[in-house]
């Protein structure tokens, strides 16, 4: 995996066509069966417990999120979409907030934002503007032919629905693959990348493989805090490691 501080994350993510792997149609079924076997061994006679995990919680554990960090993340994601579609942003906080306000599912969050004390609101606005500056440097508008898709959910039920692996993909590019892997995923994070980033990307790659039946050729995470892009060109070994991580994460949740 590479970590780069570079200009134009999307072009870097797209990479060179000749490096993309051939599609292995049997791989997904094998990985799913392997995971189910491992979970069967882990759960044993327990048919009651249900566990839900995401790439983040599998690698970092469950942790509380503050309103400010949730707000920052939602606002920055709104700006990311604007940047990728070539919008001109003059007032980052206002533009992002108007998008958030139009989303009924974000009503509690926008309520919280509007109720922030003036100093904290100004601080948040300044932070959002700083993140947007990074996005402006890193993101170019995406050609429509790449079929960009935003905010896609993955929700996989395994082991008789006792294990639920979920993920939110911020941006997906590429048409459905035929012979060569053709889909890439991009996650935007407002935090800095830590030691877990490679594993998080491996799990994301695995979940997309299980969802679509075909592995993505690349998975990346762009930090809007630093501008660094963590890029994983997905190999079979990454998916295998992803299975180990998903098993270990559920084992930890089950047995503490």
């Amino acid at each position: 995996m590479s970590i780069a501080t570079t200009i134009d994350a999307v072009t870097l993510l797209r990479g060179k066509g000749h490096r993309r792997p051939h599609v292995d149609r049997a791989l997904c079924g094998g990985l799913r069966a392997w995971l189910n076997d491992e979970y069967f061994a882990l759960f044993g006679n327990d048919t009651i417990t249900r566990i839900s995990r995401s790439p983040w919680t599998l690698t970092h554990g469950q942790g509380p999120s503050s309103t400010l960090s949730l707000a920052r993340s939602a606002l920055v994601m709104a700006l990311c979409t604007q940047r990728l579609l070539g919008a001109t942003i003059t007032h980052p906080m206002d533009d992002a907030l108007s998008v958030l306000e139009s989303d009924v599912t974000q009503t509690p969050l926008t309520y919280e934002i509007h109720n922030l004390e003036p100093e904290r609101f100004s601080l948040l606005a300044a932070e959002v503007a700083a993140h947007d500056e990074v996005l402006a440097q890193q993101l170019r508008s995406v050609p429509g032919a790449w079929l960009p898709r935003f905010h896609l959910r993955t929700s996989l039920a395994l082991h008789g629905e006792q294990v639920s692996l979920t993920a939110m993909t911020d941006v997906m590019f590429g048409p459905p693959p035929k012979e060569i892997a053709s889909v890439a995923l991009l996650d935007i994070t407002t935090t800095t990348h830590d030691d877990h980033i490679t594993n998080e990307l491996r799990i994301r790659a695995l979940l997309e493989t299980l969802r679509s039946g075909v592995q993505p050729f690349a998975v990346a995470s762009l930090s809007s805090a630093t501008g660094s892009l963590a890029l994983l060109e997905v190999q079979e070994a990454d998916l295998v490691e992803g299975v180990h991580l998903c098993v270990a994460g559920i084992k930890a949740a089950l047995h503490g």
Partner: protein, 285 residues
Amino acid sequence: MAERPLVIAASPSAISRVLSGASHSVAHLDPGLRRALATRVAGVAPARSLGFIRLDGYVITKVLNGSALRTDGPFHWTPRATRRIIGGPAAQLVLSGVSPEPLSAVRGEISRLLNQAESRQELRSGSLARWLYEAPESLRVAVTAEALTYASEVIASVDLGLLDGTIDPSVNDPQWAVPGAPWISLRGRRDLDVVSALVPGQRSILALRTGTLGLWAARDLGIVALSAALCRPDQPLPARIVGLWGASGRALVLPVTPAIIKQAAREVLSCVEALNHRISRAEAA
């Protein structure tokens, strides 16, 4: 032997093959069932003064499961609410080869609506065109993102090279207003119609769904089949409805038979009865 409902992986090739296949037996909607459903629904319908009732698979499942229906207050436009309205025509333009890619098609649709609002200032205030016209630029971009995502999902769900049939360019969901109680309508939310190359008039329907393939998926698809049949009584029943739950990578293939249609009609009637009962109880309280 009759086909049975089948869960398959949601790959474009598998979806295209299933959509392309004609039914082994061609059936038509029983006109008696259509008449009986209209009469019985009108007989148990809540009063017109209580407003319009729009039934679809989601509402019917909620009501029959005894769940409360969401009351979000009066409708207002959001980027999410526009995704199928703008993304649907854009996807059709790409699939029919008129537009090379979905982003330009979506932008074209938005421009068309903006022009409509600009040239006809008298457009009613709640219309999508007027809302877009008055929206800030950032909101229009958010609308573009939603519609583009939807259009790209529709386009990516099928492999045109494997699709043996033609895509019906009409983009509206089939909607049947109950004769005798036209304030009640049944809508089948679907995203793509493929007209068979083998059986004239026969079609298969693709319905994109969010979330995971759950217990009530077949009921939801049955309602899509019924509404399509009621709206085109002169045409053969759809061969099959393919529900695609993209988040879980699974699709449910529901072959449409007269028994499926009858079952869906019973559920519509039960739903209207249950709604009437709820309203009566609420009024009594």
